[in-house]
Symmetry: C3
Subunit: 318 residues, 3 copies
Amino acid sequence: MNNPQLTKNGELKHLLSIEGLPKAILNQILDTAESFVGVAEREVKKVPLLRGKTVCNIFFENSTRTRTTFEIAAKRLSADVINLNVNTSSQSKGETILDTVDNLIAMHADMFVIRHAQSGAAHFIARHVAPHIRVINAGDGRHAHPTQGLLDVFTIRRYKPDMHNLRIAIVGDVLHSRVARSEIHALTTLGVPEVRVIAPKTLLPHDVERLGVQVYHDMNAGLKDVDVVMMLRLQNERMNGALLPSAQEYFKCYGLTQEKLALAKPDAIVMHPGPMNRGVEIDSAVADGAQSVILPQVTYGIAVRMAVMSILAGNTEE
Amino acid sequence: MNNPQLTKNGELKHLLSIEGLPKAILNQILDTAESFVGVAEREVKKVPLLRGKTVCNIFFENSTRTRTTFEIAAKRLSADVINLNVNTSSQSKGETILDTVDNLIAMHADMFVIRHAQSGAAHFIARHVAPHIRVINAGDGRHAHPTQGLLDVFTIRRYKPDMHNLRIAIVGDVLHSRVARSEIHALTTLGVPEVRVIAPKTLLPHDVERLGVQVYHDMNAGLKDVDVVMMLRLQNERMNGALLPSAQEYFKCYGLTQEKLALAKPDAIVMHPGPMNRGVEIDSAVADGAQSVILPQVTYGIAVRMAVMSILAGNTEE
Amino acid sequence: MNNPQLTKNGELKHLLSIEGLPKAILNQILDTAESFVGVAEREVKKVPLLRGKTVCNIFFENSTRTRTTFEIAAKRLSADVINLNVNTSSQSKGETILDTVDNLIAMHADMFVIRHAQSGAAHFIARHVAPHIRVINAGDGRHAHPTQGLLDVFTIRRYKPDMHNLRIAIVGDVLHSRVARSEIHALTTLGVPEVRVIAPKTLLPHDVERLGVQVYHDMNAGLKDVDVVMMLRLQNERMNGALLPSAQEYFKCYGLTQEKLALAKPDAIVMHPGPMNRGVEIDSAVADGAQSVILPQVTYGIAVRMAVMSILAGNTEE
């Protein structure tokens, strides 16, 4: 089966999920992002790579935060940006999404950034679009959020360049996370020898070991001597369900505090995809502390999105 | 009485409705749009004609789709675009619309794109604005939606250039359509010899024959040997009223299927202003079929809107 | 205590309130705004002063009108503008505002325009941001709305340049106004010898005399021989409370009519910050009359905001 993310020549065509991306393309994105880190620090933070291109942020699910990152990235590339908040409640049928997309293609849009509550929405759209259109998945249900996964990997590489000697712990709601799975895939692809997941059984997928990770239910054991601690966001709605007793209880067992962080290596870095629930999955002292690279993640997120957009725009083959 | 759409010298000043536009101006818009069709296919889809101008999309009624077409057109002309969604429920008095408009004029806005649920709103605003301001009606109640009418005519001319030898059928809810009336006017002005309307009596205006059309209630008879089939959108709310029995019944009588389309000329084109109710006024096999020019309509819609904006911006006389 | 609005060298760093601005900086803003008045009248209304800068309009409280003025000003300076409507109801904790802001800083935003229902919000954010970020208060609760105050002073200076010989009356709800206090401060700082406030006792702060103004409860007495009449907007919600009997009664006592205006100097100008309640605090005949400079205020508002933004962007010291 051919890979819907790649052109016939094996170049990046859409960014739908990290799964299925060859190592060479992962490294191409990360290396290209390096060159955009500097752009954000210039006096004039603009490059003309997407001038005259139309980037449509089609958000079937509202997310001001994510939309802003893509809007800033596209504008720094000099693209024209159109924001569309599409109320899915007004859509009676699946075809209507395609009609919306077809209309924008007919208006000569060049790139779609898609956010949708349903898993697979971005793939569905990518399979449908004309050959010259590029699609970026900005989060589809529980499935994937590849630019988040990429910016996390980019951040790790920046702080811990020797990826073949890392021990990384991913902590929290792996089950419902759209980034954890992608990250595990990216990290193992890039040669990280040891990836751990730390979570209660109720927040882990059944087959999690098959992803090549070590499973811990005890945070103290799991954090021991790691180089990187990647916290996951706990969705508030999980609290009301049967999966978890309470936010206080969760924080006690799986919240990251200075005490628990002391079990990791002294130079370990702390990551979080945001937005944080301070006092639920992470203590403010850690979030704002010296080992936190949470805000650099955001900074690198712009560079990574600019890299993805510019690579997609440059690969004009079908 | 002088024409509010024209300058003293007879040039286009505002675009409020197709009625009242001389044939020469209709052709000027269509010919200018031709030159913009190519711009959308370029690598850099921008021309500097409106650079430094401020275009305000003032939408008193929400329509992401229509707003997007004007926003893309204005940005391709290099204008600065300001989107304003004005909640009319917060407006107690008629003057408040004018206060809103006066404020934007005072901010040196150059062009207003107005969408309003009330017929006549764009005319009302155009009568009020300062002489150097240009107004485009993007849909006012049941009254008019002239750029839609123009893009329809433009599409017909592109596919069937010899307009003096055409037979065109307009099918559906002519009564509530803001484009049907404009289209009939444009088509007869441009010399189309035979325009038919096909609809149940409940969806036709009383005086429809006076517009110079032939009336059909039977779709099989009406479609016979036509060159162009223009379908109209059926508003869902009509279904609940006394005007129509049901969506199924409507589709059976007035929905366009491959079988009915076979009655038209073999090279007949099928048009629809969108968004489509698939399975209500049009079958998906027709909408996505070889004779459909529904997506080219959308493409030409950008070119027509760029043409209108650039002509208005260029006519600086009062 | 050091002034949070000024750099170590005494230059403008943030614009949070007119209180605390030295006379020299007030005059710098007003003089710079003069140079931008002309830009709005050019064919191409753009200058490249903020090219490549990212301006974020963060509106925790919705205000299309105010947002539009800042968006137009920033775009005329060639900035990239990102609009964020942040629903404060979704924010459980104070830190979340700072997390939102920290994220935008990490994305290399350069300037924040902040609107918030709570007094002090812009100060709170300004104290928190990195040294190279600039903050403009676009209205925080009852506290301040400094660009409105500045545009009012700019308008007065344009029509009545000899500010040392003016008698100015501010009429209406001084108690709840976020501009009245700033304006009084600015006017006395710039040497206006006589500032009057005219209002019922229920709409005046207790300590109003301490601001250096003369207090009138009778409008006929207060308007006598003034050069400038500055009307304040009466919030509709005041009407329902115990502070005022009714809109009709208020208009009778404190609404500005042609008759009352005749008591002022023959060349007196009439101002209003908008949006107006016609027939409540001001009669339409006056609002649209020859002495009204209400729309020029809006025009100058763009020039003043461009001036503030360009001065802030130019002062790169900490």
